[in-house]
């Protein structure tokens, strides 16, 4: 497979789709990954990358890309379905502690659109609130004075909510603490370095949360709440 330097990202994206269709899954996966590394993003790109990795047998990378796709499209049913299948093929089965329902809802809401969309919407809402407030304060005897007051309050609250959503989205997408284990087997220790007591053994494809970083080691939290130190090169951040 030869990729010409002059090809546009859209052409390469289409070429990866053709490779996938003809059964060259690892070729498609490397093309998709390259696009991702160059900074191109789309829900379908990440979803297709996950599929290509899954088909070429790399379940850990498949889970990684499905998780990334899920951050762009949390409500996409196909991504959820494929992620579930990929997860069923990995070794570790960890009972995860479920998130509180409002956190889950809030995150879902935050991921409905991009952080910048939320930010722009918040700004527009804030402007609307200001206009309504001016109306309320200046039109002394206008009939909709009361209405404009409540609308201004509502717009201000919405604007505030949207700012929170934009911040949350930015946190989830750009400052994600989650990582997927890529080594086929790795030991979690009680301290950074190779000397700490061995606490647990993880296999590729397991999703962990990075708590802190020290040198070449990261402290991770497992879905069931346990913590341990793992080598940084054995995981890839979502």
């Amino acid at each position: 497979m030869v990729t010409l330097a002059g090809q546009s990202p859209e052409e390469r994206y289409a070429q990866a789709g053709e490779l996938y269709g003809s059964g060259d899954y690892s070729g498609a996966a490397s093309l998709y990954r390259k696009l991702w590394e160059e900074g191109y993003r789309s829900r379908d790109l990440l979803y297709n990358a996950g599929n290509a990795f899954f088909k070429s047998g790399d379940n850990a990378s498949a889970i990684l890309f499905y998780e990334r796709a899920k951050l762009l499209a949390p409500a996409d049913e196909d991504i959820d379905y494929n992620l579930q299948i990929a997860r069923s093929r990995i070794t570790d089965r960890i009972e995860s502690v479920p998130q509180l329902f409002f956190v889950r809802w809030f995150d879902f809401l935050a991921l409905l659109t991009s952080t910048n969309t939320w930010a722009v919407a918040a700004l527009v809402m804030f402007l609307a609130a200001l206009v309504l407030a001016l109306l309320f304060l200046t039109k002394a005897r206008a009939r909709g004075r009361l209405l404009s007051f409540w609308l201004a309050i509502a717009a201000l609250l919405f604007s505030f909510l949207m700012i929170l959503l934009a911040l949350r989205n930015n946190n989830l997408v750009n400052h994600n603490k989650k990582a997927v284990i890529t080594c086929s087997i790795v030991t979690g220790r009680s301290a950074p370095g190779e000397t700490g007591n061995e606490l647990f053994v993880l296999h590729s494809g397991t999703t962990v949360t990075v708590e802190q970083e020290l040198g070449a080691f990261r402290e991770v939290r497992l879905p069931d709440g346990n913590k341990g130190w793992i080598r940084s090169d054995c995981m890839e951040k979502i």
Binding site: N51, F54, L123, A133
Partner: protein, 605 residues
């Protein structure tokens, strides 16, 4: 007639014998063990003559000869050929070890005298002989299927191949070799053939021994057991020795009458005892090579050379009538271990596990028949896919994929008809999920967005909020000032309304005194309108009676006042067009207007 023929034959035989060249051969072992008996056999292709025995070494105790003559008459294409021979067997026992020479024997006919070759024989000591034979045995077992020439009774496992692929069948034979009389065999213990799957071949019980000459030594041989081995694991696999007890007949030569010092009488007069002797085979190793990887998905363990064919009992079937798909695997190889082919039958056809029959023809050859019973449960056309079955061919050293053709099955019939009174309830059928896989990729428009920096992380985004707030505050402040200014103007007018009105009224009074009666009314009207405009905050241009009345009523003024106002305004307007005498005096009007403004001023703030 018969007698004549016999005589004729005899005469002719004599003639033939005369004509033929006479040979004398000797057959003696090259080595023997001291104290053990061995045979020296002389064969002469003539019956007519005098045999002179050789001068055996004096340490040899010689018995015999056991003489037999043999005459064969053959007719080939009308020519008669007579072959006659005499065999003399001497039974010799050497007493002391050493190398001896058996001198030539002589045979003398009327015409010629022939002599045999001289033979060297090495007589071993009893113990060292066993070591020697043991060594010899080890060599021969490595070399091939020659038995241990030194021992009298031995047993060997003969394998058809000792370098095979896993699963490739090996034919094995357990063979007995003996140079002495046996009365039977006992306690055959075969090894457990670890790493192999063993399958016995039916072997007839050993009743008589065949004669076989190996390396010039005559053996009685017999096949004890035949079997087929299927190697299951790869590597150098060792086959442990087989064990058996042979019942050896041994003569006890004690108290022998010299008169009967002849082997011919041995069997009658010497006492024979049966001695059990344990014999074992040599351990063997077989090199089993693993099947090459990767194995095809449709490889189910068949190793050998095979062909496959399939047939179907009917291509047009009635609903719920059974159809049989027969797949036959034919050839030689490990048929018993060949797994069933995996056929993905179309949904809607009920499939049962295949009935497997193995028909063997010869050793590890034959055919294996897989019969799939299919019951179509839905009508329509079904494609029975071609069977693809991979086998490993050890001859070609690669996997060979065998294929059969597919079939099309037409199923006709009416559902539920065969049951007579069809039940009203038709059970629904759940959708069958027969596999699980991820969903396919999306090949929609490849609209890719580049990674953009988040706005919330940049300062200028937040500055926009501050700017918007600042502008809004600015607008608010300006607007408030404007409102305040406007409010001040109106308040001034309000406060000065009564004062202005009184000023106008006093001017009207002054006009009255100066005699300009016409202008008085207009001045009164102006005073009233001005007052109302200022007090009610209505522009002079918008001022009408109705607006004023409405505004007054809103401010809870008395109807009485409004009526009075109306009258005064009417009077002032009327007086402008009518003669002065007909209307009220302007002075009275002035007074009433002043009175009304005072009243209104109390009501209006």
């Amino acid at each position: 007639m018969k007698r004549i023929t016999t005589v004729l034959v005899f005469l002719l035989a004599c003639l033939a014998a005369v004509a033929q060249e006479v040979t004398l051969t000797v057959d003696a072992p090259e080595s023997a063990v001291a104290g053990e008996r061995f045979r020296i056999i002389y064969t002469i292709n003539s019956t007519d003559g005098q045999f002179t025995r050789p001068k055996f070494d004096p340490s040899f105790s010689v018995q015999g000869p056991q003489q037999s003559t043999n005459r064969n008459v053959q007719w080939i294409n009308g020519d008669m050929k007579v072959v006659s021979s005499t065999t003399l067997i001497y039974y010799v026992t050497a007493g002391t070890p050493g190398t001896y020479t058996i001198p030539a024997a002589q045979f003398e006919t009327k015409r010629v005298t022939v002599s045999s070759q001289e033979k060297q024989i090495v007589i071993y000591d009893g113990d060292s002989s066993q070591q020697a034979t043991g060594r010899q045995q080890g060599q021969t077992s490595a070399a091939g299927d020659a038995p241990a020439s030194g021992s009298e009774v031995s047993m060997r496992i003969l394998l058809s191949d000792r370098d095979v692929y896993a699963g490739q069948p090996i034919t094995g034979t357990l063979k007995l070799y003996t140079r002495i009389n046996l009365s039977g065999i006992q306690e055959l213990k075969l090894p457990d053939f670890k790493g192999f799957l063993k399958e016995d071949i039916e072997t007839p019980p050993l009743r008589s021994l065949d004669n076989e000459v190996i390396d010039g030594v005559q053996y009685g041989t017999g096949v004890i057991q035949r079997f087929v081995l299927y190697p299951q694991i790869a590597g150098e696999i060792r086959i442990e020795p087989a064990e058996m007890t042979a019942l050896v007949q041994e003569r006890t030569t004690a108290a022998r009458d010299p008169f009967f010092n002849d082997p011919f009488f041995d069997s009658f007069f010497s006492s024979v005892s049966t001695v059990p002797r344990k014999i074992t085979t040599q351990p063997l190793t077989v090199r089993v090579r693993p099947l090459p990887e990767p194995r095809p998905a449709d490889f189910h363990g068949a190793v050998g050379s095979f062909t496959i064919e399939s047939s179907v009992s009917a291509t047009d079937a009635k609903l719920n009538d059974a159809v049989t798909l027969t797949v036959t695997l034919k050839g030689s190889g490990n048929l018993n271990l060949a797994g069933e082919p995996v056929i993905s039958f179309p949904q809607g056809i009920e499939k049962y596990d295949p009935k497997v029959t193995v028909r063997s023809s010869g050793i590890s050859a034959g055919s294996k028949v897989f019969e799939y019973l299919l019951i179509p449960r839905n009508t329509g056309t079904f494609e029975i896919p071609p069977v693809s079955y991979s086998v490993f061919d050890p001859g070609q050293e690669k996997y060979v994929t065998l294929r059969t053709g597919g079939f099309t099955l037409n199923v006709t019939g009416t559902p539920g008809q065969e049951e007579g009174a069809a039940p009203v309830y038709i059970p629904g059928e759940d959708v069958k999920y027969i596999g699980q896989d991820i969903r396919f990729i999306r090949n929609g428009n490849g609209r890719l967005t580049t990674l953009s920096s988040p706005l919330v992380a940049s300062l200028h985004y937040w500055l926009w909020f501050a700017l918007a707030l600042f502008i809004a505050l600015l607008v608010l402040v300006i607007r408030k000032q404007q409102i305040r200014r406007n409010a001040d103007k109106a308040g001034m007018r309000n406060r000065r309304a009564a004062k202005n009105a009184r000023k106008r009224l006093s001017r009207a009074t002054a006009l009255l005194k100066s005699g300009k009666k016409e202008e008085v009314n207009a001045e009164v009207a102006r005073a009233l309108w001005g007052y109302l405009g200022d007090k009610l905050r209505i522009d002079q241009s918008d001022l009408t009676r109705e607006k004023c009345y409405t505004a007054l009523r809103e401010r809870k003024a008395d109807e009485e006042m409004i009526t009075e106002l109306d009258r005064i305004l009417t009077a002032t307007e009327y007086s402008q067009y009518a003669p002065v005498s007909e209307v009220e005096s302007p002075a009275a009007l002035c007074e009433r207007a002043a009175l009304l403004i005072g009243k209104l001023d109390n009501v209006l703030d």
